[in-house]
Symmetry: C2
Subunit: 252 residues, 2 copies
Amino acid sequence: MSNPTAAILIIGNEILSGRTQDINVQFIAKRLAARGIKLQEVRVVPDVPERIIGAVNELRAAYGSVFTTGGIGPTHDDITSECIAAAFGVPWELHAETFAEMQAYMLPEKFNAARQRMATMPRGAVPIRNEASVAPGFSIGNVHVMAGVPRIMQSMFIALEPSLPAGEPIEMRAVYGMGVMEGAIAAGLSAIQDKFAQVDLGSYPFRQGSEWGVAFVAKGTDVAALEAAIAEATALLATQDVTPVQGEPGGA
Amino acid sequence: MSNPTAAILIIGNEILSGRTQDINVQFIAKRLAARGIKLQEVRVVPDVPERIIGAVNELRAAYGSVFTTGGIGPTHDDITSECIAAAFGVPWELHAETFAEMQAYMLPEKFNAARQRMATMPRGAVPIRNEASVAPGFSIGNVHVMAGVPRIMQSMFIALEPSLPAGEPIEMRAVYGMGVMEGAIAAGLSAIQDKFAQVDLGSYPFRQGSEWGVAFVAKGTDVAALEAAIAEATALLATQDVTPVQGEPGGA
């Protein structure tokens, strides 16, 4: 059960103001689980240097990998890259190879100061080249710096993925029943959790149309134990005069 | 500019595993902005007592209000309430009034130990009664403890809202242009930000169909300054041979 660990740091005034609905966490979380990396924390901080620097340093000390999203574009509010340099205590300087690549890609009159800034990185950073954008993300130490725009972030994450540590895949099995109230089965479910200590067993009420249901979700690396726990949870649901359905509500 | 501050703490294995797409942050963030409260941080932590207790204590010391979501149901994985008691160093005990209300609402054979647990709160907590659920959330000090299920959380937040501090509403004005590249206008935009220091001016690339665009978003409490900044940003977009559109892409 010693899966590698990770955190996500979202640099995003637009999330904190409610302007933007984040969808990056779920994408990264699912890919990490499939790779056997345990996502242990997510933080969202504003575009303020000391907040970014402080969070990067706390998270990179606490977890195996840190993934940041947001703040690496060409505008004045894109300050992630220089904050990462400050967090690592290294100079923030032109990355010659990236500069050359971007220069080759653009008309000279388009490669202005703002765009040249996107070729500037903390010393020692390794670019995350990707298919969505000529301006790369970068990795330094255990910190991986990616764009906030989901399409570009996803392309960067996919490019980065093969270089990440891997653990035993964290599998999920689920069962649900409509019309079941959590309060009615809580004691039985707790007994199942006690029996399968290596399984992380969660209970999630949800609504489908006008009806409430409960989903039990078992997570862990021991597939046999997951399936045994879900079999018992299925039997528990059946005591409530409902027809348990394997899997997640709404498919999956 | 001394708006009250806030943080959100999501207690949620289901978010960290990628099972669930959080939508609570955006709901709370928008309501806080309308009330003039500045959301300064969001954290997601797993259902682990020391992680919850540590985060609650850090956040309640750092911000004016803390809103937690998740982990107050009747099942074994619902541990938020006792962790809040531990964070405040107070006993976790039956809340007599809530117990009586739940007892009156349910058939005696349904009011089992698991459901009685939902009437247990940190000593000194004030229930957040709401329309969605007979089991309330609660407030203690500056920490407001709410359900994770969006429908129930929203009902609790709405019930809580009138008792929250209020500041000058944080307003937003926006303009966007399709086909504009951030890199082309970054210098001009930076000059506008410098001119209107009391405005928080962000630049957000987005995709609509197969085309990229850029939205400029001005936030702050000084509406005249927001509108002046957006007027200049509109003129900046017009230099790019596009027709600027007031407001957010996709309406709003």
